[in-house]
Symmetry: C2
């Protein structure tokens, strides 16, 4: 058994930050790489376009042939072939000749400009041209989009649709990305049951399961969730199982500071509890430990406290495992009402931000719906104390916690 | 065959908007509902908590018993039972008695307050209390979080982790959400092949496939993608197949205005082309039609044009099919350079926004990497014309196009 002392949020984050993060990588088909984080630089493997090609539907010509063309001096060129996109002409142009060409088709040998279809008139097997075209007019040159050898994307890039498109063009069908961390979530509590309208006495719905699954997904990780009763031996066994299978374990419940409680004791049994109890409100009984070099975040059973603890301690760690660096993005706002905040601890107060004015939601710690009624935390640290209406305060918007990929 | 005339972006959006949207709904397990859009209101089915419960680890007492307790006048109460979370005590309290109680456990009959464990001293089968507790102190009252019959969420809510938690607590294991639209994507072009470094002459990589798949996913829809050569009969058959299976069809390529081209002709064959050709740059040959009341967005083969066409014409329609209302969120910015913009058409110029200053990316239409080098469009409508460095202009940030769920 360990003993617990409240430490500061700063110290807690420092301890968590010291647990080495292993960035696992995987090679996946490009089709599946949308929203993933690139784990290699992308060097272009082929010139794009891979050949000089027509940028228009029209006629490939030798530009010099057209230099004197005008309405009063029309030029007539013989049409010797037709090239669709994806095809190649076997013919090379000689002076006085042209080849009908589709957008995207490769320029035939000796041609060096395209006359747009709209600027021509077809007469039998000839076209009539009444204005000159410049060298390379409406020709997309080999390599003008992507040059072989060019570094087009760096490691760490979050991949969106157009990144995938450019990577494909560069010649890659697979891509190396950071692996999604596997998060084992153990929800503890004898009182918890699946959603029902027929609760047995003393039972409540296991709502944390749904919140934690969603929070893990929101962090782009994969969740493995189970429910576990308040039994030390069972907890040790479940924890051992998830530590083997997963990269991180998150628990809820079983962290009461006064008694030690099942989860913290089980972590202590299998590994080391690095802290238990932080000067934060809500969420004081949060614990953190390491088993076989893998982090264990021990959150409260109270949904509101668990949400705060996830946001402050676990979320950015999970993102960092995917090489997504995220810091708290605090804003300065004006208090729309008096805010109670105790000195000596970090007060994370659910609140509603309207414009630049923030209103604390005045409820008890057990009111879970306050999370969905609020859109931010007021972040009042150890030195802040009570805040009066009209004074400045620090705000952390819920939307700022998330990465929008 | 149809004939085509350029219409304005506004008129095109109006025509698209007039195609009735059918909002399909489905009942899904709550576990799978994160980021989905609620298609019903949520009425709370059970009081939460479902019983008066202890908010602390401590002792359930009768508050009146403690009214005179003080350090000089300690009160001793007999401990007659112990209740863990999930359990119920068979005992009712009489004066002079207490029951040890865990956080979350139901208050025993006749008790009406909790003395925190830290404020007690256990001596044999009694506890010593040296201060009074008020009525309902550290008791979470039945229904104080959620009241049976209360409407806690409205239709249209995008569900996040904490919404799921509250819905679960309200008694629901399944939830009705808007169905993800099924989008059939047909990428046309004989020249297109899968990513490779060994391209045959005239061939290029099918990069649109990856972009469109990602764009559809980014719109929370499901993509079904196939490649189709430039053949009218094959196109008719593929289009017919996807119109049967999917809610919307998006095509790329085969929309050349000068010739009609395969895709537009095939749509015309099976249904009706409502427009073909819009006064927009890039993206002029965009088409839109309806087959069996289902919309067909016909985008260009050029990736940059297809991206612009998707963003301007298709994206918000797909979101609306899920009851997500999204409008273009134009910002007023300062031009960091001269911007060429032709009057009489809507110019959508890839650009880089730095602070409030926007720099156009000066490249040809075929430079696909310009999309990933830019972070916004400069939106210069029909009346704008050229913009001088230092003048105001309208900007549409790429990030503003997306919904962050």
């Amino acid at each position: 058994m360990y003993s617990s002392n409240l430490i500061s949020v700063k110290d807690a984050l420092q301890i968590i930050g010291n647990v080495e993060i292993i960035l696992n990588k995987e090679h996946i088909p490009l089709e599946e790489a949308n929203t993933r984080v690139l784990a290699e630089k992308i060097e272009v493997l082929i010139d794009v376009p891979p050949f000089d090609r027509s940028a228009m539907d029209g006629y490939a010509v030798i530009a010099d042939d057209t230099s004197d063309a005008s309405p009063s001096n029309p030029l007539y060129l013989e049409v010797i072939d037709e090239i669709g996109a994806g095809s190649v002409s076997k013919h090379a142009l000689s002076h006085g000749q042209s080849i009908r060409i589709a957008t995207g088709a490769p320029m035939p040998a000796q041609s060096n400009a395209v006359v747009m279809e709209e600027d021509t008139e077809q007469i039998d097997n000839k076209i009539k041209i009444t204005k000159s075209v410049a060298f390379n007019r409406d020709v997309a040159l080999k390599g003008e989009d992507l040059k072989k050898g060019e570094i087009i994307l760096k490691e760490g890039q979050i991949l969106g649709p157009h990144h995938l498109s450019v990577i494909a063009s560069s010649g890659y069908g697979k891509v190396k990305v950071y692996k999604k961390p596997e998060i084992g979530v153990i929800i503890t509590g004898n009182e918890l049951v699946e959603p029902t309208t027929h609760l047995k006495p003393g039972k409540i719905v296991n709502s944390n399961k749904f919140a934690l699954k969603g929070l893990v997904e929101e962090s782009f990780a994969v969740s493995h969730i189970k429910h576990c009763g308040d039994d030390f031996n069972v907890m040790v066994s479940e924890l051992h199982d998830y530590i083997e299978k997963c990269d991180v374990v998150i628990t809820t419940g079983g962290t009461a500071i006064s008694k030690g409680d099942v989860v913290v004791n089980a972590t202590s049994e299998l590994g080391e509890v690095l802290f238990h109890g932080v000067a934060i409100k809500p969420g004081k009984p949060v614990g953190f430990g390491v088993i076989h070099n893998k982090p264990v975040f021990m959150l409260s059973g109270y949904p509101v406290a668990a949400a705060v603890q996830f946001d402050i301690f676990a979320r950015n760690y999970i993102l960092k495992m995917q090489n997504i660096q995220k810091e708290f993005d605090l804003m300065k706002c004006t208090a729309g009402d008096d805010i109670r905040s105790a000195k000596g601890k970090c007060n994370i107060i659910r609140a509603k931000l309207e414009g630049n004015v923030v209103y604390p939601i005045k409820t008890k710690a057990g009111i879970n719906k306050s999370i969905i009624m609020s859109n931010c935390y007021i972040f009042a640290d150890e030195d802040t104390g009570n805040i009066k209406k009209g004074e400045n305060c620090s705000v952390l918007k819920y939307s700022s916690l998330k990465v929008c990929k």
